[in-house]
Structure formats: C-alpha cells, structure tokens
Amino acid sequence: MLGLTWLAGLLRRRTGRMAGETVGIAVAVLLLASLGTFFAASRASMTAQAVGSVPVDWQVQIRPGADPAKAAAVAAAAPGVSATLPVSYADTTGLSSRTAGTVRTTGAGKVLGLPPGFAATFPGEIRFLVGAHDGVLLAQQTAANLGAGVGDAVTIGRPGQSALTLRIDGIVDLPSADPMFQSIGAAPGSAAAAPPDNVVILPAATWDRAFSNAAAGTTSTQIYTQLSHDLPADPSAAFSQVIGGAKNLEASLAGGGLVGNNLAARLDGARADAIYAQMLFLFLGLPGVIIAALLAGVIASSGRDRRRREQSLLRLRGADPRRIVRLAAVEAAFAGIVGAAVGLVAAALVGRVAFGTSRFGATTTQAVVWSGVAAAFGLVISTVTIVVPAWRDTKTLTLRGAQSAVGSQLRQRPPVWARFYVDVICLAIGALIYWQAVRSGYQVVLAPEGVPTISVSYFTLLAPLLFWIGTALLMWRLGSLALRRGRGVMGTLTRPLAHRLSGVVAATMSRQRRSLSRGMVLMGLTASFAISVAIFNTTYASQSRVDARLTNGADVTVTTAAAAGLPGGTADAVRGLPGVAAAEPMQHRYAYVGNDLQDLYGVDAATIGQATSMSNAFFAGGNAAQTLGTLSSTPNGLLVSEETVHDFQLQPGDTVRLRLQFASDHAYHVVPFTYVGVAREFPTAPHDSFLVANARYVAQATGSSAVQTVLIRTVAAPPAVAASVRRLIGPASGATVNDIETQQTITLSALTDIDLAGLTRLELVFALALAVAASGLVLALGLVERRRTFAITTALGAKRRQLGGFVWSEAAFVALGGLVLGGLGGWWLAQVIVKILTGVFDPPPEHLSVPWAYLGALLVATILAILLAGAGMLRSARTSAAAVLRDL
C-alpha cells in the first residue's frame, strides 16, 4: 500500500524524473528490439531468397548402367520431395542449318530431352521467346549462331550415327543454363565450367527415338527434383537439412545416382551471410544498445541526489533499509515495465517502417525470446540504476552525506582500471589482434563449400570490442587528467567564455571532473558510434556500387555469348551515340590452365580504363596503372588470379601455356603467355579464377578477333544510354545490353548481399538521436543536478553572462572533448570494422567513404542540442532560483 502511495507521489511530484527514466529505458528497449527485428527479418529473407531463386532444387545424375525409372521412383519417394521429372542429355557433334542459301555450322553441343510438363514444373528453366512451347526448340544463342528461326530445319550431328534433321518449332532462352549443364560429381576444375553454346531441346519421346542407339557415354539422364521447401528460417539449419536429405537420397539410390544439390549451394552462401548479419548486429547494433542503456542509466541516476535526500528523510522517519529499497524497487519496476512496454510498441512500429515487419523474430519462439530479452533489458537498466544505488546508500549514507558528492569525488582514489592502465592494455591487445588478423588476411566467417559447420573467428571480434572499451576508458582518463592537472590551461581556455571568472570556472570544472568526464565519455562514445556506423554504411553502399560496376563491367555493357562475337564495328558505332563518353571492346573467351577451364578476357590494357573504372583493389600490389602498364608493354602478358599463382607456383616472367580454341578448327591448342601480374577482380569477371591478356595477342593466336563485350562509360543516365544502344544493335544480334543502375538494384537484393538499407536507416536515425540526447540531455541533466549551485550563484549576484561562463565552459569541454576524441575513435573503429568484416564487402574497399553531409548534420544537431540545453538551463537558473533558494 505504501508502495502505491509512494509511486503516486512520485508521479505527481517527480513527474519529470519519472518520465525521463521511462523514456530512457524505452529508447534502449526500442533499439534492442528493433535490432532483433532486423536480425530476424534478414535471416528469414535470406533463406526465403535462397529457396526462391533456385529453379531446380536437386539434379540427380543417374550412373551409367542404373535404371532411370527406378531411380526416379526412389527420388520421388524421398522425404520432402514434391516433384520429379527425368531429363535426358545427349552430345551432338555439331549443328547446321541452311538459311537463305547459306549453310551455317556450329561446334559441339547438347541435345536435351524434356518430358511433358517440364516447363510448368520448373518454370525457372525455360523462357519461351518465339514460336511453339513444345516440339523442337532451339536455344536463343544457338539460333543466333545458326541464323535459324522458327520453321527452319536444323541438322543435329549424332556421334556414331547419321545426322538427324528436324524442323524448328520455337526459340527459347535458358536462364539457368549453368546448373542445367553442370558436371555433377566431377572434381572441381576437371569439367567445363561454361554451359554449351549450342543447345537443342526435344520432346522426351523424340529424344528417345533419336538417341536410343547412341554410342555409350554420349547420353545421360538426370532426375530433376523439386522439394517442398518446408525448411527452417535459419539458413544454416536449412542448409544442414537439405544436405542431409540429399545424402539420404544418395544412400537410398545405393550408388545408382549422385545429387547435384543446387538448393544447398544457394543456402551455403546464405548461411555465411546470416553469420555476417549477426556480425553486423554485434558491431553496428550492440554499441548503440549499450550507449542507449548508458544514457538511460544517466537519466535515471540524475535524480540520485534528490532520491538520496528522500531516502535519508524516510530513514529519519523510521523506515528501515528494506522498506527504502522496496520503495526504490517500486520506482524501478514502474520505469522498467512502462519503459519496456513503450519501447516494444515503438519497436514494432519502427520495424514495420524500416524492415516491413513488426515481428521480433523469424519464428514465434524467437519473437517471444527477443521481446522478452528486450523487456528484461529495460528492467535490468532500471534495477541497476535505481535499486542498486538505493540499496548501497542504505548501508553507508547519512543525511549530510547525501547533500554533497564533490569531496567524495575528489577523495576517491583513481578507479582500479585507471591504476592498472586497463584502457591502454585494452587498446594494445586490440591493436595486436587487429594487426595479426589483417596481416594474415583472415576471414571472420569461414563457410567452406558443402561443409555444414561454419567457423567464426570470435577471437578476432575482440579487436573492436577491446578498442571500444579502451577508447571509452581512455577518453575518461584524458578528460579527468585534463581537468585535474590542466587547471591552469583550462582557466586560459575558458577565458573567452568566463572572462574574470575563468579561474573559478576552471576550479569548478576540476572538482566536477567525474561528472564532466562522464558526460564527455558518453558524448564521445555516441559520436564514435554515429561516425563509425555512418562511415561503415556509406562505405558499404559505395562498395555495392563498385560491385554493381564490377558485375556489369561499366555504366553500360553490351555482351554476347556467341563465339562469333558482336557485329564488327559495334564499339565504334556506340561511341557515336549521345551520352557515351567512351566505349572499349573486350574479348571473352575460355582457356584451359592445366585441366581448369577459366574465363579469359582480352583487352587493350592502355585504353580499357577509359570505359570503366580500374580500381587499385583489382590488382595485387594495389597499383592498377602499373599493372596494366606492364601488361600493355608485354604483348603476350597475362594477369592471373591469386589462386592460379598459388596452384601453379608462378613467378613473374614465367611462361604459362594456355589452351585456347582456334577459329580454324574449333579445337583447343596451346598458346604461350608470360605471367606479369595478379588480377583479383575485373569487370564482368567471375569472383574465383579468370585470366586477362592483350586482345591483340589473343586475336593473333586464335585467328579470331571477335569481341564479345563492349564496355561503355556514359555521361548521361545509364538506362537511357542502354536503351539507345539496344536500338542501335537491334534484337537480331542476340546481344544483351545492361546498365549499372538496374544491376545495382539486382546486386542489392541478391542472395549474397545483406540488405543493410533498413538497418542503415534505423542506425543513422538512432545515432543522430543518441548524439543529440547524449550532448543536450547529458549536459542538461548535469546542469539540473547542480540547480542548487546555480541558484546560489544567482543569489550571490551572478549575471546571466557570468552564469553562462560556467555553463558554456562545461558545455564546450564536454562537446569538444567528446566530438574530437569520439571522432578519432569513430574513424578508427570504422577502419577496424571494415577490415574485420571484409567478407561483407565485395570487393574490399580501398578507402573509407565518409558521409560528409550526414556528419555535418550530426555536428549541427549536436551543437544545437547543446545550445538549447545550455540556454534552457540558464533561463531556468535565473527564473527558478527563488524556488530553489526557499529550501535553503
């Protein structure tokens, strides 16, 4: 009963304090719960994206000699399988077609036999372009190679049999050609990585008739299998389930088939991304939560002196310590419960706006746990900041002791961490771990392909954690040191603000060093958080543009997969289009390095940089100009991937014998190159292994100067230029035209990229809010704590300007110290986080991208908050002096 009376009294008489405590806790809970929403949303969306983007979950390769029908039955009966269809593959020695009196032939290719209903069951596999949806279908690229259309005849060369001539019923696109023609069960690098250029699709019955007597080893069958997709939301768990299912099927087939696990391959990437999402939460979110908690603590503890006096009076009136603690617990429970409730409701709203969901978890259990943890966090803050000090005070405090804390601040020995230099030790160990990690070129998340377990280097995470702790403690040490030892300097520095009072102001600040240092550290931590988050996010966004540029190759790219390449003079024609700054042709061939088939790009090294960005990060040694210069000056020069250098133990100047397809006989022949450098990334190149050579040398060696790609730099909007390029080359060329803006949209929503947009919005807004709160609120609360001091100073005759000397000097110390130290700390933390989370970036950034506009807004908001807090306090000190003084 007394508890309720006490609470009612607090709500009536201490409304500001109660509101402040509640709002502080609500903000901390809001941030934690919102991060939970991001966490859940990102994980669930990664699994959903992974599952949704796979056209065929499993391709079961039937072993020679095994019965396809029996294998299909086994696959259909496997747990979780929703559909199975057999797909037949046959080799063709080549295709030919006669159109307009000319016979065109192609190299070797594949003939597929598809059962009825295939396109409906696996809609991502075939896109119908022209003509019928069944019958004899020709792949778009093949049609371009043959110059054939619907109604024309195509002749299919059959190994060991006579050629077969059929009439073309339709032209199709094969968007998932890579997995469709993958080599299941082959050792990596031992089979062709690129899908065939020439593909004919036949109805299953026609295929059976055509290849019933095919030579051994020239045909095969795969069972295309679709799963029910009833998978766990967590990508790692989904990956394990899918891998387990595939192994189970292989065991059931008893050696009769091998599973090409396309779904697991996609989930493999997603689970690494899920861990990175976790890392992002740890690095970018948790510091914000801690700062919000610290702020809530500061708000709650700002009423501590008054609370102490109230408790002392309660004690004088006979309340025993247990009752006093119980009353404090009532206040804490109210602030904690109401704050948590408000925070959770606000988080649901923020989640809806930022992430499109109000759930705090991917599953109901997760949602309950997250909201429970967030609410408990609020209660812990209120308990730690209200109940614990009250309990401690009941053991030590007297009424007189409650009235002053200055002397106790001064008499106290430096804290244990300061005496043992924990700050310096943290920074040194953090630097050591960071240096070690960067030197060894490690990855914080290691998810080896196909292996269910993911290795996370938690030890390395200690580096930013120790930096964070060390920076906070060092800021405290420096702040205290400046105020304790630098009183003279402080007096000089505050003279412009405090004039004749500068000595007194410096003395006051020196003796208030604990609370001022606390304010400065909070300000610094918030600035550091805001700056590191903003820099990280901007760098991430900037790298996504680089990634899009890398994937697309340039602002606008024209590509064709045809061996014959783009029509001659395409690059010259494109150069004449409006909005085009430069256009550079690039060959795209395939070459064998030993048994490994790799992409080979033939360029003019001297001019390629005119059409696209050649970043230093693309090349080992970090000097794009030098590397391309070396390539240009070495006619048969070759840039290879680091993996190739490692595999073949190459030294600069070594001869590398590649096998390239010659135009004369379509066969692969050895061509000698000279290894001159390492390329890590290259426009349009795959992430793993590829080669870069001089186009002139490749053309000379292979007898073909065909160009498969034109890279275009634009001075107008890329989509507009892309449209005019499409009009220029026409649909008959078979070439595709892509622009960087469209590509960036695809990149940002692709499976392997964590969508930071929601988290970025949330964090940047919070960082700004926390910075404003930490600067304005902390300063205001610090000043409110000393309302009595200001009232007395006013009573002694201090004018507004003189009171301002005190207020603005303290504000300047907190703001300048916090912003400068926090700025340095934030920049350094951003550096560390970007390095440690290198795996999130693709490619790794060469330097940090600084969001000057945001940082400017942050600075202005912080200064405004400080000015408002200071001016408000000055006004209140003058007007409320009489009320305060009545208590004296």
Binding site: R500, A795, L796, G797, A798, R886, L888
Partner: protein
C-alpha cells in the same frame, strides 16, 4: 543624512492557489534606512525568511510593492548592494571556502587578487581562516555558516541580510560572531537586517521587528540605530 534603502508598502507573498494557498507574508509596510541594525524576530514559519528573500530581490511579492530607492533597480542589487546569508549553509560545493568567499568580489568585477585578499581578511575575522582551502563538505555546520556570513560581507554590500546567522553556533561563538558582524557593519557602514530566534543576538541590535503569521507586528515604520 540616512538614505532609505528599502521601502515596502502593503507587501505580501503567498504560495499556491485556491484552497492550498499559503500566505507567508501579508500586508507588510516598512522602510530600511542606511545604517539601520534590525533584528527580525518571530516564531518559525512566521515569514522571516520569505521576507528576507523578497528584500534581497530574490523573490517577488505577490501583492503590494517594494523598492530600493538608494540601491537601484532589482536587477542591480546583487552583487554589491545587497547580500544575503542563508539559514542553512549555502557554500558552493565545488569551490573551496576561500574561493566561495572571494566569488562575490569577482562577480562584482574585482580582480582575482583583490578578491582573494578580501576573502582572507574576512575568513580571519570570522575565524575560519585555517579552513580556507577546504571544501564546504569538510566543514562543520557552524564553520560553514561563518564562512557563508563572511561571503555575504565580501562584496562590500550596503545591505546585509542574515537569516539565523547563529543557528548552528554555540553560545560563545555566537557572541563573537555577532560582534564581528556589528564591527564590520560599523566599519563599512553596512546596514543589517538579521532574522533570528536568539534573544541574545536580537538584544545586540538596536531595533527589533517582530513577525507573526506573516505580519510585522511591532515594527516602527522607520527605524533608527
């Protein structure tokens, strides 16, 4: 020629509204002239402290009027013209005793050296010189009170208002304290208005005003030393 320093006419100060309204001072009319030495006596809660705060210009009356004919407008009263020593010690916690006492001089535009010299003299007079470098919380209640009174005199004000200056002193110290106050007042020609319960203190002052239930019941309209 004795100037009128303070003149109040029908002055009242109340707090709160409606039924909860409390009248701390009601319809008080008086005048304080330069050189006056007045003891303001009355039971606790009779309105002495409130009246001192209104006279010091820290608080505004809710009825009637008050003026400081020879001291200037309210905003210019402090520092320099009027100083007040509060009932409870009111030294600024982050400043030493010396800095506390020197502060009014600096606020009034004096140099730091001048302020410190004045403060040391006053601490000597009020017997707290040995505590000059101590922080307020290291002082006893009596010591802090003497330092507060020293501070009230440090800006050489023309009117010093003291609220129960001997409330935390023993009898012997209280007597010396009153003596010091009167001596300083005489030297600087400082006008004194001292609220007190202590009859011994009141007896040392030539004029006595009595307050009861917010009203001034035995005051002379003008009072002479």
């Amino acid at each position: 020629m004795r100037e009128p320093l303070v003149r109040a006419d029908g002055l009242g100060r109340s707090f709160g509204n409606g039924e909860g309204r409390v009248a701390a001072v009601t319809d008080v009319t008086f005048s304080v002239n330069s050189g006056d030495r007045i003891a303001l006596v009355g039971p606790s809660g009779s309105g002495k402290s409130t009246l001192l705060q209104v006279v010091a210009g820290l608080d505004r009356p809710t009825s009637g009027s008050i003026g400081w004919p020879a001291l200037g407008p309210r905003d210019d009263l402090r520092p320099g013209m009027v100083a007040i020593a509060f009932q409870d010690p009111s030294l600024l916690p982050p400043l030493t005793v010396l800095e506390n006492v020197a502060l009014p001089v600096i606020l009034a535009g004096g140099s730091e050296g001048e302020a410190v010299a004045t403060a040391r003299d006053l601490l000597e007079i009020f017997e707290v010189a040995t505590l000059a470098e101590h922080l307020p919380e290291e002082l006893s209640g009596g010591q802090a009170q003497r330092a507060s009174i020293a501070r009230a005199f440090s800006g050489s004000p023309r009117l010093v208002l003291a609220d129960e200056p001997t409330g935390q002193q023993d009898q012997e110290t209280a007597a010396r304290l009153v003596e010091a106050i009167l001596t300083l007042g005489a030297i600087d020609d400082t006008t004194l208005l001292v609220a007190t319960h202590d009859a011994a203190v009141a007896d040392r002052l030539p004029a006595r005003w009595t307050m009861r239930d917010g009203r001034l019941v035995t005051e002379a309209l003008t009072c002479s030393a």
